[in-house]
Symmetry: C2
Subunit: 338 residues, 2 copies
DNA sequence: GACACTCGAGAGAGCGCTCTCACGAGTCGC
DNA sequence: GCGACTCGTGAGAGCGCTCTCTCGAGTGTC
């Protein structure tokens, strides 16, 4: 039944079967309209009969496209990977959007130092048309190096220094300020914060939002402990906070995971939430709905961050211009912890 | 300085710069030993000077290899993706192992029905050398179709029917039995379970383990409610369980997330854990250490599942034989909830 | 009816690489 | 000192595809 018993059918095989030339079959495969309907039809039949699938390597050799996009998660991201809903959410958003555009998602997990070179080598080889960088740490030189290599790049989160590549971010500060206003409106006067790492923009801006929000309270002094966005650090930071000022009546944590940790510490020492201490987090991950009590938090559109990243990189790859930055809104979601 | 101002350097460019032939440069690039040291050295220098990186498309066109492996997460997996530490953990394990072998990880998120065809098309196009399938649902025909397509496949989790492809799984039943024995040893007599979906092997085997474990208790009747492995379903199932038998003194949940949900329900209705009701989960995700109280659970080596999957697919791709199945041990981790 | 024109289809080059084969220059044995 | 052998290197084909160029047939115009 199959004319070429050995191996997969090629354009040539299909062409012979359909009595046409390789070029015409290629036209049909790529949806050219300049093929007579009956010819196109018989070619399509031959394709179906033979189970022909184009060889992407051969195709990209001539087109110089690969139709795939790399998503790079640097070390800092993979570290929290298994306990955080942020990156899975972003991956999913990016993946869905790329699927719609018929592009492939190549995941590069930069777990070790050595992977830096590997990534550069990979990208230089033009195995991907573009790169989405979930860059978090300020010191990271990867965005700039990729840009220098001439590869389209979009990053998630504003870089710490000057932004040399387009990025997608959210309104950290204004979201936190809304949280602070809510706390103040609740009559809270001694508001502490569990900040994120200060070498990440997300950590810095959320702290800045806290400081700005605190100004609404005349005479209030900042009370800051730093964590690493993960749960254990929230537990520990809350303990330090309580030691420094047992009279705290509210705390803003820069991530839901840290807020959950704070909740745990407060419960352990017998403080009621929100009665004694109000707690607000940031992210609005799935688990925030299930903390005890359910967490009031600043929502950021995680899934949309992913789809926007995909959208931007696709436009860049297509040679279109994109905005230097897209900043998505955040909003306060009020549950029971504040 | 660069001999070819336009575009990236090719083998040809390097060959001219080093005064050698394309073939010899190729030999050096691919680490052949049959090149005179001084020639090899000057070629290496030319490669470095020009910043030459092999074009993978051209290479795979002739070698018929792509050096990349697809990780397919079917619909059922992506659904829980954002609230579960299992798949991120597996992805990370697979990613790390593949990186060591210098292979790329291509992530295919099968979020919609249509992606089934897309995946098949993709795999038929031989864009990847092999496939790791995080197949969970019994009805899934993908493993078989992939096998039929002649692509090396390894799945995570034993398929429901007859296993036609090698798989990596864990000892579900014996782990659950250990949990049951622990409960019985604690003097618990009315032990219920929140089972997982019965169209997944993980769901079935964990239920089977519960039923076996229950036999140690003469006269005990099974008390089963089904969930979908996620938190909300644990909350709901626990409520139903309590309604059916308010005298329950222990519950085994087939996932940590469901166990956490059960904990929430128990707390809401004023049951103390473990005093009134002991709770044991399954998975030992990161969050299990942070539930209230910390969750006693059956540990499964999530990261190792990932690395083993990678290991097996790499061997398969290399043409080696692999075991039809690898079943990793589970063990009970005793914390405070039981 | 002859000309220009349009439009569909084929021929053929070439993308960058690997790999087989052939070849030239040393090396060795007798 | 000459044939046989080894070893490093080059020539060249070909992987499967796209795309330009060319060509032939059909259509329209005056």
């Amino acid at each position: 039944m199959n004319e070429t018993p050995a191996g997969r059918p090629t354009l040539e095989t299909v062409a012979r079967a359909a009595g046409a030339s390789r070029a015409t079959v290629s036209r049909v495969v790529n949806g050219s309209t300049t093929v007579r309907p009956d010819v196109a039809e018989s070619i399509r039949r031959a394709i179906a009969d033979l189970g022909y699938v184009p060889n992407p390597a051969a195709r990209s050799l001539v087109t110089q496209r690969t139709d795939s996009i790399a998503l790079i998660l640097p070390e800092s991201a993979t570290r929290v990977f298994s306990d955080d809903a942020f990156f899975p959410g972003v991956i999913r958003g990016v993946g869905e959007a790329l699927e719609k555009a018929d592009k492939q998602l190549v995941l590069l997990l930069a777990s070790t130092q050595s992977s830096h070179d590997r990534i550069l080598r990979y990208v230089h080889g033009r195995t991907v048309d573009g790169v989405v960088l979930a860059s978090m740490h300020g010191a990271d030189t990867l965005p700039e190096e990729l840009r220098a290599a001439g590869v389209p790049v979009v990053t998630s989160g504003r870089p710490l220094g000057e932004a040399t590549v387009p990025f997608i971010d959210v309104e950290h500060a204004s979201g936190v300020e809304a949280a602070m206003n809510h706390l103040v409106g609740l009559g809270r006067r001694r508001i502490a914060t569990i900040a994120g790492p200060q070498d990440m923009v997300a950590g810095r801006e959320r702290l800045a939002g806290y400081l700005t929000g605190l100004r609404a309270l005349s005479g209030a002094v900042p009370l800051v402990e730093e964590g690493d966005f993960m749960r254990q650090s929230g537990i520990d930071a809350m303990e330090r906070l309580l030691q420094r000022d047992p009279g705290i009546d509210a705390v803003f944590a820069a991530s839901d995971l840290m807020a959950d940790g704070a909740l745990r510490t407060l419960r352990r020492v017998g403080r009621r939430v929100p009665d004694d201490v109000a707690v607000i987090g940031f992210d609005d991950v799935e688990a925030a709905r299930f903390t005890d009590p359910p967490l009031t938090t600043v929502h950021q559109p995680i899934h949309e961050i992913g789809t926007r990243l995909a959208e931007q990189i696709l436009r860049l790859v297509a040679g279109e211009e994109v905005e230097a930055s897209v900043v998505l809104p955040t909003r306060l979601v009020i549950r029971e912890s504040a």
